[in-house]
């Protein structure tokens, strides 16, 4: 079972990290979130049938991201209350935290890079549920039922969130073109 679990986690860990990073805007925070999700998943769900692992793992990941969001909000409140410098990290352009572009870039690649950055920036601005639906359905390739299980909502809600997310993404990309 350990081998299967290792294989499964190896398969999802990088995408999970990128998803967490889109929510947290921080590589380190994203790493913490993914690590917590892996531990929680291994402890609670390793004995479940393997075909159930994927939605369950992403459910755990979404919960950990929400926990992170709550903790961050609370920390911000305390900082404001203690009149500390609340601007730590707030002024950093999230794009600067993304991985560096690789290799030499011809002009057309530069255009692609710019488009990708626009996509990333827009995905980050989507409401949480829309982003979750988009990432799980479109990127992770989960079907509606699996996505609903991972998000803890109905299939209808998944479709609604996905449609709205894609529409907003499309609109933003059309405007910025």
């Amino acid at each position: 079972m350990k081998l299967a679990l290792d294989r499964f986690l190896a398969n999802v860990e990088r995408r999970a990290l990128i998803m967490a990073e889109l929510s947290t805007n921080s590589r380190d925070d994203a790493m913490d979130v993914v690590q917590e999700a892996m531990f929680a998943f291994a402890r609670k769900y390793a004995n479940k049938p393997e075909e159930e692992w994927r939605p369950l793992f992403y459910r755990v990941l979404q919960n950990k991201m929400r926990d992170w969001g709550r903790r961050t909000k609370l920390r911000k409140r305390w900082r404001i209350w203690l009149q500390e410098d609340a601007s730590d990290g707030a002024g950093i352009d999230p794009i600067q935290l993304l991985a560096d572009p690789r290799g030499e870039l011809p002009e057309d690649t530069l255009d692609n890079q710019a488009a990708m950055r626009r996509v990333l920036r827009t995905i980050k601005t989507l409401p949480t549920r829309q982003r979750e639906a988009l990432l799980l359905r479109v990127w992770e390739g989960m079907d509606v039922a699996e996505t609903a299980k991972a998000m803890g909502c109905t299939s209808g809600s998944v479709k609604t969130h996905l449609f709205r997310g894609l529409s907003k993404l499309r609109e933003t990309l059309d405007i910025e073109r």
């Binding site: 350990k2 690590q35 531990f39």
Partner: protein, 127 residues
């Protein structure tokens, strides 16, 4: 741009992000994964008992109900057989004598006064 055009753009962008992950990040992910997998040890197998024996939970629940029902039956049965409480009957009690005698109840209520009246010295109303 349609939804159908947007989806591949999303996938391409995010896959590029995954491919751009540096070696240090990948190494940290691997270490985290190995630590998580190592967590699944004896605890995992213990937790697996119910997963591997799904019959254990309903059987356990039925057994629990049976024990509770038996206990209730025993308690109810034993409470039926309890005899009504009996009051100790003391034939020498003065109260019994009073209760049986035809005594004015007002007198009983002011018993203390009458007792005082009986023992108080009679001075012929001179005070």
């Amino acid at each position: 741009m349609t939804h159908e055009e947007t989806e591949p753009l999303v996938t391409t962008t995010l896959e590029a992000e995954v491919a751009a992950l540096d070696a240090s990040t990948i190494s940290r992910l691997q270490r985290a994964r190995h630590a998580a997998v190592a967590e699944v040890g004896p605890r995992g197998s213990r937790r697996g008992f119910l997963a591997e024996n799904p019959w254990a939970l309903p059987i356990g629940a039925i057994a629990g109900f049976a024990v509770i029902a038996s206990a209730l039956l025993v308690v109810l049965h034993s409470s039926d057989s309890i005899e009504p409480a009996t009051v100790a009957y003391d034939e020498t009690s003065p109260w019994l004598e009073i209760a049986e005698a035809d005594v004015d109840l007002d007198l009983l209520e002011d018993l203390e006064f009458y007792h005082w009246l009986e023992i108080a010295p009679v001075d012929g109303g001179s005070s």
